[in-house]
């Protein structure tokens, strides 16, 4: 077949191919090329052989460039592992172990009683479980720990906790809330139970999240697998299982005594902030609820938070006789 194409046709086809690759063909040139290709099937055949080699060259280059990058990464990994192996080791909780945890374990020998940890409003605590896993407990939270030989089961009855789980392939680590159950082998992730909804955010590793069966009518396939950087929100009677990415700095900000919000409605921000303070925020006007809020708030000092809300959102805060803080439009 190739032998049938005459030299002049092939020369012409190569010139047209080079014109096409310039990417700056004029409309009249495009029309001329289309006419030339239509005129004779051998024109098309010759031209196509140049299109093909062009595509093959790009494919070959991509394969080679990807392989070169892969090798580069291998070398990088090798260099890192010899110099920085201690950095790659499982991350340990930097915070000191706080004494705030309450312990009611093993009162009787007959029945294993779960260990119970709790924090008061505005308080956080860090503690280590028997298997070496670290747990940070946020404000107003209750966690029950019940380890057996088969499973390391913890239940977040209320609030928010960040888990840094020690690896144990024999005994999975299972965190359950009212609505969701997260099952892992070893990883770092945050679980936030707000009323009936549960948000699971994975900071490293992989976590499988299931609906708690009694709580919601979810299909058996409602399991969601999350990898580092992803989170999902479980809401009762909702079949949605959206997986989205999140900002790790915002999700873990409570460990640093801050709350960070990105474009959240004021109503949601108030609901979240109220977890931390005894003096609860209240919106004086429903229309305020939709104001978008982006920023960080100090969780240790409510006075600073009040001032920040007043200045950033042009609000006025007033304490009412019940000790609540009423937010009102300014002026």
């Amino acid at each position: 077949m190739k032998g049938n194409i005459s030299q002049p046709i092939d020369d012409r086809a190569a010139r047209w191919a080079a014109r096409t690759l310039s990417g700056v063909m004029k409309p009249e040139e495009k029309t001329a090329l289309a006419g030339w290709l239509e005129a004779d099937p051998r024109h098309r055949q010759a031209f196509d052989s140049y299109v093909e080699i062009t595509e093959l060259a790009s494919e070959a280059h991509d394969v080679a460039a990807a392989a070169a990058l892969e090798r580069e990464l291998e070398v990088f990994a090798h260099e890192r592992s010899s110099r920085w192996s201690w950095l790659v080791a499982a991350p340990a909780m930097a915070a000191s172990i706080a004494a705030a945890a309450l312990f009611f374990g093993a009162m009787t020998n007959s029945q294993p009683t779960p260990e119970r940890y709790a924090t008061a409003r505005g308080e956080t605590a860090v503690f280590t479980l028997k298997d070496g896993s670290a747990v940070s407990l946020n404000t107003d939270s209750v966690l029950e720990v019940n380890f057996s030989n088969e499973e390391r089961s913890v239940s977040l009855a209320r609030g928010e906790a960040l888990f840094d789980v020690t690896r144990d392939a024999e005994r999975p680590f299972v965190v359950s809330s009212a609505t969701a159950e997260a099952r892992v082998l070893g990883t770092r992730f945050n679980v936030k139970a707000m009323g009936e909804s549960t948000i699971v955010s994975v900071l490293s590793g992989v976590v499988e999240v299931n609906a708690v069966k009694e709580s919601v009518h979810r299909a058996a396939d409602a399991a969601v697998t999350l990898i580092a950087g992803q989170e999902t929100i479980f809401i009762p009677d909702s079949n949605k299982k959206d997986v989205r990415t999140f900002n790790p700095d915002a999700v873990t900000s409570w460990l640093r005594g801050k709350a960070i919000y990105e474009n959240q409605p004021l109503s949601a921000v108030i609901a979240d902030l109220n977890r931390y303070y005894t003096a609860q925020f209240l919106l004086g006007d429903d229309s305020l609820g939709n104001i978008p809020v982006t920023g960080g708030f100090d969780l240790k000092d409510q006075a600073i938070t009040i001032e920040a809300l007043e200045i950033a959102l042009s609000l006025r805060a007033e304490k009412n006789p019940n000790g609540q803080i009423l937010l009102l439009p300014n002026g």
Partner: protein, 195 residues
Amino acid sequence: MAPEQRDLIEEAIRRDEKLLIRWLTKKLGDSDAARDVAQSVFMRVWAFAETSTVENPRALIFKAAGNLALNEIKRRNRFYQRHVTPSESAEKDALHNVASTAPSPETHASLREDVALILNAIHALPERPRQAFMMNRFDGLSYKEIAKTMGVSESSIEKYMIEALKQLRNVLNAERTKGEKIVTFPPIPDRRRKS
């Protein structure tokens, strides 16, 4: 997915996550993009493991990382191509260099046969047609930009391109004709592209 498989992949992702983000940040000069690409790498590995058995997850992570990093580099290269003039941006030059990572002939040996054949053919081109072809095809430069770099006219670039195209196409044709002359029994299915 079998529990041991899940275990293996979890472990690998956990172990290589930071390393991968660090390398991608170095490569792309942008930690947000690095995180996004790392995310895609893990998703791809996870999806692959859903349907196939993975024995060496780290090798799979690195392979996916190579491919997705290249996609991102190319995507950015095109972006800068359109929005920045070549002399203006040092960043573009850096990307340009990465995208031109043309492996040397000795590394071709480890690649697929057809890929190695074409890369060797490009390598064998006369210098100026080879430069013009690689800058146009692999770095996405226009003839005008190449002409400026090489200090010749745009029509010269077009001539170099014609020369490169012809020689490459002829190498491919020769290889295929050679294949056609080999008679095997029993016949083996032809997996090459039809001409």
